[in-house]
């Protein structure tokens, strides 16, 4: 008896569609044991997650607040993934974007709301983009692995922002807390329904639509897809792959950078320590779950938002550690990657010895 793996000729659409759902289900199942181990009924916990995150206007608004930066970061990461460029540095790009937006908000002296918004947007866009662009240049020119570069630059970005808020940008009236001064009204997004829900969400959905059109409909998107599918064929067709790598990493970082803008303008109204609690890493899971599609990113980000808000309530209600949420995210990604294997291969049990 022997297990044999066989490549499937064509994987059925049903299988491809059901695999992410199945992997979430299996992750829920396995996470259930973690919950049981901490003495919490899994069913009650899952119900609690849904009620807290979706069951009230407040819950829903909080979920959308969390969804917003995840959409930006997820879009950025998925764009790069589309070209088989592994941008692991969305976290750092969020920080750099937040820094750029904050710099404009605090020091530009612009009074007009719309001018301020546009200026902050572009500052965040370029700061995030150039930060990722460094990895793009290294990769395009000298084949330096972008995974390492983007990942390590996260730490630099986070510590750089820490330096600013502990040092030169510290609010003189902030009782020595590591915060910048509060933004003026011109530098804030509108908020709705008396909750923390802000315009950043609409900007995120809008970005998703633009990116969807960009990838699926434009000539550049076509080029990115060809390079992602087969870089050698792309070079053979006369495409400039080096330029494309830089451009895609730049854009990927720029979109992640907007998440930083949205967080400081919509939520924090200042730059402070820990502005992103790992959104950039969650974005990797989101991009993968969404199969790198822009519309998928919006949906999956929302699911992750549910999980984050619901997870918070688990902490309050049952004193579960926040690590539970991360463990659950990890489980989803793990089972998703495993399900990819089953989409591509068929596993068969064969009797006897295999010849040839």
């Amino acid at each position: 008896m022997k297990l044999v793996m066989e490549r499937r000729e064509i994987s059925s659409p049903l299988l491809r569609f059901s695999a992410p759902i199945a992997s979430i289900a299996v992750a829920l199942f396995v996470a259930g044991f973690l919950l049981l181990a901490s003495g919490v009924s899994p069913l009650a916990a899952y119900k609690e997650i849904l009620i807290e995150s979706l069951g009230s206007l407040y819950g829903l608004s909080e979920t959308l607040v969390k969804t917003t930066p995840l959409i930006f970061a997820g879009l950025g990461v998925s764009l790069a993934f589309r070209m088989q460029i592994w941008n692991i540095g969305a976290e750092g790009q969020i920080y750099m974007g937040a820094m750029g937006a904050t710099w404009v908000a605090l020091f530009s002296g612009i009074q007009n709301h719309w001018v301020m918004m546009v200026a902050m947007f572009f500052a965040a866009f370029f700061c995030g983009g150039l930060w990722a662009g460094v990895a793009g240049i290294l990769r395009a020119r000298w084949q330096v692995n972008e995974v390492i570069v983007t990942l390590l630059m996260n730490y630099i970005a986070i510590l750089w922002v820490d330096y600013l808020i502990y040092g030169p940008w510290k609010d003189p009236k902030g009782f020595n807390f590591p915060l910048t001064a509060q933004f003026g009204d011109a530098a804030r997004f509108a908020e709705y329904f008396n909750t923390r829900f802000h315009s950043g969400f609409f900007l995120a959905v809008f970005c998703a639509l633009i990116l969807y059109l960009f990838i699926e409909r434009t000539v550049w998107g076509y080029e990115i897809k060809v390079i992602g599918s087969n870089p050698k064929a792309a070079r053979y067709a006369g495409m400039n792959t080096g330029m494309a790598i830089f451009f895609v990493l730049f854009l990927s970082g720029a979109i992640a950078g907007i998440a930083g803008f949205s967080e400081v303008a919509g939520l924090q109204h200042r730059l402070q320590h820990g502005i992103s609690p790992g959104y950039g890493y969650t974005a990797i899971i989101i991009a993968w779950l969404a199969k790198r599609s822009a519309i998928g990113v919006v949906i999956v980000s929302f699911l992750m938002g549910v999980l984050l808000v619901g997870g918070d309530s688990l902490q309050l209600l049952w004193q579960l550690p926040v690590a539970f949420v991360y463990a659950f995210q990890g489980l989803i990604l793990f089972f998703l990657l495993a399900s990819d294997f089953f989409i591509i291969y068929r596993v068969k049990l064969v009797k006897g010895v295999i010849n040839g």
Partner: protein, 507 residues
């Protein structure tokens, strides 16, 4: 003396392809036995059978008189059969010693480094190889890396060594050294199967030569009983030259003029060496030559994938050698690549999208920055019908298509811009007869419309059938032109082995 290895009537088929039809030959101890054959004659399949990767459908293999049955490469190694592959199986960052040790079975967990080193060093001295055991492999020349592969097999006490085109990657000096080693091995009574395309080497080193053609072993000759031209004609065969309607009124206008072109490869050897070629308007110029004599470099230079180190390429009045003008000209030179799956297509994308890979920027397929999906679809429908591509349901990724259909997609794309010049590299390799015939027709039709084609192929029949002229290449040089209506296989075969042709240039 009994043969060490005896192969009788081996047959191996893959779905739809007969890779080996009927192969028999034997290797005696102390013999260097050469396998000669064109690409696709079944050499690699045969080697994979011998090393236990494939299981033959029929036939018998015996080692030292015992019939054997390999189920895995491990079995074959246990019988003392070892192979030096064309691509070395080495860990570049590890030392020579570590690489050799990795290949050995039964190394105890706590082994005496000194003992093993001494043993390996003894082999190195015996064969007069200068090889430092502690140096990392990546620092070594290709020739020295090959020695490591050899030592690995000798340490395993292999009795039969298979060398798959070992000299393809070597400089002439390195090759000479390798031959000395092989001769010593032979004196020690080892059996060697030597695979090569290079006639001179075959003549120099072989005791016997077996010729493979289309999956059959058609002849075995003993030393003294063969010379270069008999081998060449055996390899090429003596079938009747097929007839084909030729393009008789050829224009004298030269569309492409290659002057004294030299191209160096990564190892500093010359792929093309002072190469000259003239392509006339509307002709099909066949390039004959044993594989590895610069054909691929020629195609890559012409299509802008490789840079020249010397010489000029003129397209009419325009110098397109290394300038940017060349890139703009690429639109006028279409290319059917040798390696269709690795550089010809984007495998995850649909037929529609693959068909526009070279013209996606052109106005007909875009509206401002957006792709014109309707035009792309219409183009695909047109091409699918025109070239009879079996493309499956709309949007099926190209990689699910058969080889012949993938080739049709590439050809449809390359010809869609009505290029002035087509460079086709082995365009029918691996295709079934129907698809191959179709490809021929497309090329011939193109010539009628005034397209000039450089057809690089290994099947002489194909060249004789299609070409208006045939240029023969040898070691990166042009040996001469022949007229396919007047030439013989023998003449081409001789020229392929480097003898000057009787016709230096066609009038």
């Amino acid at each position: 003396m009994t043969d060490f290895l005896k192969i009788q009537n081996v047959r191996k088929t893959f779905p739809g392809v007969v890779a080996l039809d009927d192969v028999s030959f034997s290797v005696a101890p102390g013999e260097i036995h050469t396998l000669l054959g064109e690409n696709g004659a079944g050499k690699s399949t045969l080697m994979n059978v011998l090393t236990g990767l494939y299981h033959p459908d029929r036939g018998q293999i015996s080692v030292a008189g015992e019939p054997i049955h390999f189920t895995s490469p491990r079995d074959s190694l246990a019988c003392g059969i070892g192979m030096v592959h064309q691509h070395f199986m080495l860990v570049p960052a590890h030392s020579v010693f570590e690489n050799i040790l990795l290949a050995l079975d039964n190394v105890p967990n706590f082994y005496s480094k000194k003992k093993y080193k001494e043993k390996i060093q003894k082999l190195i001295d015996e064969f007069d190889l200068d090889l430092d055991l502690d140096i990392p492999v990546w620092k070594l020349s290709i020739g020295a890396q090959q020695w490591i592969e050899l030592i690995k097999l000798l340490m395993r006490d292999c009795q039969l060594l298979i060398l798959d085109e070992p000299t393809a990657v070597l400089t002439p000096q390195e090759a000479e050294r390798l031959f000395n080693v092989l001769r010593k091995l032979k004196e020690q009574g080892k059996s060697i199967i030597f695979i090569s395309h290079k006639m001179r080497e075959v003549m120099e080193i072989s005791d016997r030569v077996t010729i493979l053609k289309k999956g059959c072993s058609i002849a075995t000759r003993t030393r003294g009983d063969f010379d270069e031209s008999t081998l060449a004609s055996l390899m090429i065969g003596k079938d009747k030259i097929p007839q084909w309607q030729k393009n008789l009124q050829m224009s004298d206008e030269i569309v492409l003029d290659i002057q004294n072109l030299s191209v160096r490869n990564d190892r500093g050897l010359s792929d093309l060496d002072d190469f000259n070629l003239q392509l006339k308007k509307g002709e099909i110029l066949g390039i004959a030559g044993v594989a590895g004599n610069g054909q691929k470099a020629l195609a890559e230079v012409l299509t802008g994938l490789k840079n020249t180190s010397q010489g000029k390429i003129m397209a009419g009045e325009e110098d397109i050698t290394n300038s940017n003008a060349r890139y703009s000209y690429i639109a006028g030179i279409a290319h059917i690549p040798e390696d269709r799956k690795t550089i010809g297509i984007a495998p995850d994308m649909s037929v529609d999208e693959n068909l526009i890979m070279k013209s996606f920027k052109s106005g007909s397929f875009r509206n401002w920055i957006f792709q014109n999906k309707k035009a792309i679809r219409r183009n695909a429908e047109e091409k699918i019908e025109q070239f009879a591509i079996k493309s499956g349901p709309d949007g099926t990724p190209v990689r699910y298509l058969s080889g012949g259909n993938i080739q049709k997609v590439i050809i449809a794309r390359e010809l869609s811009e009505h290029p002035a010049v087509l460079v086709a590299l082995y365009p029918t390799r691996g295709l079934d007869i129907g698809s191959a015939g179709y490809v021929h027709k497309v090329i011939a039709d193109g010539a009628d419309r005034g397209m000039s084609t450089i057809l690089i192929a290994e099947d002489l029949d194909e060249l004789l059938k299609l070409s208006d002229r045939i240029a023969v290449m040898f070691r990166g040089k042009l040996i001469g032109y022949v007229d396919p209506r007047k030439t013989t296989r023998e003449e081409i075969g001789l020229m392929m082995s480097g003898e000057k042709g009787s016709l230096p240039d066609l009038p």
